[in-house]
């Protein structure tokens, strides 16, 4: 048995309060969902519980005893561990080395590799059927896809026989079969007496797995409710203070006479095996499917960021980009999903970030007045909440930072906008603003290619959805066919994950 109780935890960074009043109660056999918008203090609270962050005030009671964890190691010895969203894996090491890192099975003072590999295999078997069979204990981690890495993270936490596990956005990169398996496992572990804290943005998952929900807002505890006696709407209300849940807008079909902006035929990369489609001006074309089926490759190839084979026509003219800069000259823009690593220069100012793709437009020496005026306009349009354009972009919240990523491309008036899961980790309010921005852009005639891992978004916003599986388009849904059932079945229908490892296609193009 274990009970953990966090009471009135406070964490300040300089003058900024990240957590003002953090409370959390969890005990054996219970799954507690920890909810809150971005910046509400969820991560800080879970990091205090696992000893990664030291609180300024408040106390932590473990089995009724006041404790404080000097480091993650101390927390772990007390049986508390976490599955992190920002991954804690060591890329050069193998799956088994990573899972057992710091608690390796030992024999005569040395690591017992054989035992380590056997135990790793037993852990991997928990997810059997949802991960490729080619995944073995000695596969190095740098070879893994994001979902596979996430599963290794989960197994790493479980390998420690913990009494309490915090899942911090652990499902963000998993596909639905993996999520389902994880929930089965969580139920099993719960039955075995484990205490679980589940942090997630996905409402449906919380209703599937959690017993109670603790909600944080602006760093303070708002309340804890029983999941069985509450509704999604109620939880959202608690999270966003007075705001209402987003309304879906009515879809307007694109005139079939609109000119074709993008024509892709037989696009092939290491992950894509012949993708063809058309996109018209003013159309919002969705891309769906399970994670890692080639959606990112498709967008990156069109943008010229990875080499590809096949034909691309932009506005009727054949093009073949070998660097994003060439695509940008043809008014193509790309909003990456991973803001911190792909979209922003975190320590530079908002102004510098907005200017970056358009530097050549400002001449030598740079006309800073003009750049500043334009950046000011676009950040006003997007309603970026900031102290000034000179503030570093890492002072912004997640949603506002994402607006900067979009803003830097809007400054270039793109005719084709490529979006790679742009709302991942963005809070509800900012999502709503983003959706109305998309419909504005459509009305202005911008062609938008929109990949999202959130099915609801695709269903709510898109005229047409291309569902991808294993590097191909497995279904094209349009009009009345854009339904949840069709989307899910097209994603899953052909999904025999372990039967078809990537690279084992029979239809491989002959290489010249």
């Amino acid at each position: 048995m274990v009970t953990l109780s966090a009471q009135h935890l406070v964490k300040r960074y300089g003058g900024v309060v990240a957590l003002a009043d953090g409370n959390l109660e969890v005990q054996s056999g219970q799954v507690v969902a920890l909810l809150g918008a971005n910046g509400s203090g969820k991560s800080t609270l879970s990091k205090i519980v696992t000893g990664v962050v030291a609180p300024n005030e408040g106390q932590l009671l473990l089995d009724g005893q006041a404790t404080s964890f000097a480091s993650p190691l101390v927390a772990r010895r007390a049986g508390i561990t976490a599955v992190y969203q920002e991954l804690s894996l060591v890329p050069e090491m193998t799956i088994s080395e990573n899972i057992w890192l710091s608690h390796e099975p030992m024999r005569l003072g040395r690591i017992n590799r054989k035992a380590m590999q056997q135990r790793t295999q037993a852990l991997l078997d928990l997810f059997q059927g949802t991960i490729p069979a080619s995944l073995i204990p000695t596969t190095p981690v740098y070879n893994l896809h994001p979902d596979e890495r996430q599963i290794v993270e989960i197994l790493k936490a479980i390998s420690q026989d913990p009494r309490l596990v915090i899942f911090d956005e652990a499902t963000a990169s998993l596909d639905s079969s993996q999520v389902t398996r994880l929930f089965e496992l969580i139920n099993r572990w719960k039955g075995e007496g484990m205490a679980i804290v589940f942090v997630s943005h996905r409402m449906d998952e919380i209703f599937r797995v959690a017993d109670t929900a603790t909600v944080l807002r602006n760093g303070s505890h708002v309340g804890t409710v029983d999941i069985a006696e509450t509704s999604e709407r109620q939880l959202v209300q608690m999270m966003i203070e007075g705001a209402t849940a987003m309304e879906r807008e009515a879809r307007e079909p694109v005139a079939a006479s609109a000119p074709i902006r993008l024509h892709v035929s037989d696009l092939t990369t290491e992950q894509l095996r012949g993708v063809s489609f058309e996109l018209r001006d003013g159309e919002l074309l969705g891309i769906g499917g399970l994670q890692g089926q080639g959606q990112s490759d498709l967008l990156l190839a069109i943008f010229g960021a990875i080499p590809f084979q096949g034909r691309l026509a932009l506005g009727g003219k054949e093009v073949h980009f070998s660097h994003p800069q060439q695509a940008m000259k043809q008014d193509v823009a790309f909003v990456p999903g991973d803001r911190g690593n792909e979209g922003l220069l975190l320590i530079r100012s908002i102004l510098d970030n907005l200017m970056l793709p358009s530097l050549r437009e400002y001449g030598v020496p740079l006309r800073m007045q003009r750049a500043r005026a334009q950046a000011g306009d676009v950040s006003d349009d997007l309603n970026v909440i900031m102290s000034s354009l000179d503030a570093p972009v890492n002072s912004l919240s997640g949603g506002n930072a994402q607006k900067v990523v979009i803003g830097k491309w809007l400054l270039r008036d793109p005719k084709l906008l490529l979006l790679n899961d742009p709302t991942k980790g963005v809070d509800v309010g900012a999502k709503g603003e983003f959706y109305s921005l998309l419909s504005n852009l459509r009305q202005q005639g911008t062609a938008i290619l929109f990949y999202s891992s959130d099915d609801e978004e695709l269903l709510g916003l898109c005229d047409r959805v291309l569902v991808m599986h294993d590097g191909r388009i497995s279904a094209e849904l349009a009009g009345e066919n854009v339904t949840r059932e069709n989307l899910v079945s097209a994603s899953m229908g052909a999904a025999h994950h372990e039967a078809k490892p990537p690279g084992a296609s029979q239809h491989e193009e002959p290489t010249a």
Binding site: L73, R76, T268, G310, T511
Partner: protein, 348 residues
């Protein structure tokens, strides 16, 4: 699939390129010097390399752990100065051992200073160890203002003389291999270091060094005491520097306050030649040791090919540059071919 496997194999055995290079340079050397494998010739070569071999092993451990140590040369100078000050031709056997122990402790203390600055004060390794190298160099100069000192003749002889072995005396064929009957002492030192490494490689401690060097943040959240590990790598480097100084002193028979200075950068080049990446988390000490031998043999070759004196530096530097470029060149060309193949379909 096979190609991916092959790549993985190469990545996991990063010293293979170094091994290949070593074989090539040794063969070239042999083609010009057919007595290369005679015990006495081998001994003369390897005992000159040994100080740097030891030093590069220590450097490799620091680099694998995610740091770099620019003070190793100055630590060698300092320990060399101490050795010739504490040991004179009249020093008795027991006192010699005491002096060597003290010097090892001094090396570790110097490493401790580096380690505290890098791991606990969180200073950037390159500039920190560069700064401490001034401290160590100044101390060396204080202790031994000008070159001098002398070791007992037994010590230098111990280092120079081949060790006669008759363990293989009765086994046919093997007993006729000269190098197995007379073994250079440096070989035994290298063998001990490698065996020790092979043993500790499978301990948690060394596993932690790799993890901390590869992704320190991940290692920390996993509960690895990253700071203590970092500190440890610098202390180990200090110890290896002291041992390198011992080998150097026994090889030279005397001391100089700047004896080790030139070895710092060579030790880093050797580590990279040995297939260890400078970012940390990968590689090993065997490669670094091979790197040193490669550097030494290249210099041998240059002298055997009668390269004019004024051209030797250039030829030496060019060969090292090409050796460093080797793996990158192979990868660059194979990338070009892959890209060409992928885009070739379009052109056709």
């Amino acid at each position: 699939m096979n190609q991916a496997k092959f790549r993985r194999f190469l990545a996991r055995n990063s010293y293979l390129f170094a091994l290949l290079l070593l074989v090539v340079v040794v063969l070239i050397n042999y083609s010009r010097q057919d007595n290369l494998f005679e015990p006495s010739v081998l001994n003369r070569n390897i005992r000159v390399f040994l100080p740097l071999v030891i030093l590069a092993a220590g450097q490799a451990i620091v680099i694998i752990g995610g740091g770099i140590d620019l003070s190793v040369g100055a630590m060698v100078s300092l320990c060399n100065a101490l050795l010739v000050t504490w040991i004179t031709p009249e020093t008795a056997g027991g006192d010699i051992l005491l002096a060597i122990t003290l010097v090892a402790l001094v090396g570790m203390a110097a490493g401790l200073l580096n380690g505290i600055a890098v791991a606990y004060l969180r200073l950037q390794p390159i500039v920190t160890t560069y700064a401490t190298s001034f401290i160590f160099a100044g101390l060396a100069l204080t202790i031994l203002p000008r070159p001098g000192g002398e070791l007992p003749r037994d010590m230098t002889r111990l280092y120079r003389r081949l060790i006669e072995v008759d363990a293989f005396g009765n086994i046919p064929i093997i007993q006729d291999i000269p190098i197995l009957r007379e073994i250079p002492p440096a070989f035994i030192v290298i063998a001990i270091v490698l065996l020790l490494w092979a043993f500790v490689r499978q301990t948690r401690l060394v596993q932690y060094i790799y993890a901390a060097g590869d992704n320190a943040e991940a290692a920390y959240t996993t509960g690895i005491p990253v700071q203590r590990i970092r500190l440890g790598t610098y202390v180990i480097s200090g110890f290896f520097s002291a041992m390198a100084a011992l080998a150097l002193t026994m090889s030279l028979g005397s001391g100089s306050p700047t004896s080790g200075d030139a070895m710092t950068l060579d030790s880093i080049v050797a580590v990279v030649l040995g297939g260890t990446r400078l970012r940390g988390g990968q590689g090993g000490i065997a490669g670094a040791m091979m790197g040193v031998v490669i550097l030494g043999v290249i210099r041998n070759i240059i002298s055997f090919y009668d390269v004019p004196t004024w051209s030797q530096t250039l030829v030496d530097a060019l060969i090292i540059l090409i050796a460093l470029a080797g793996p990158g060149l192979v990868r660059y060309i194979s990338d070009l071919i892959r890209r060409y193949r992928l885009q070739g379909g379009r052109a056709a």
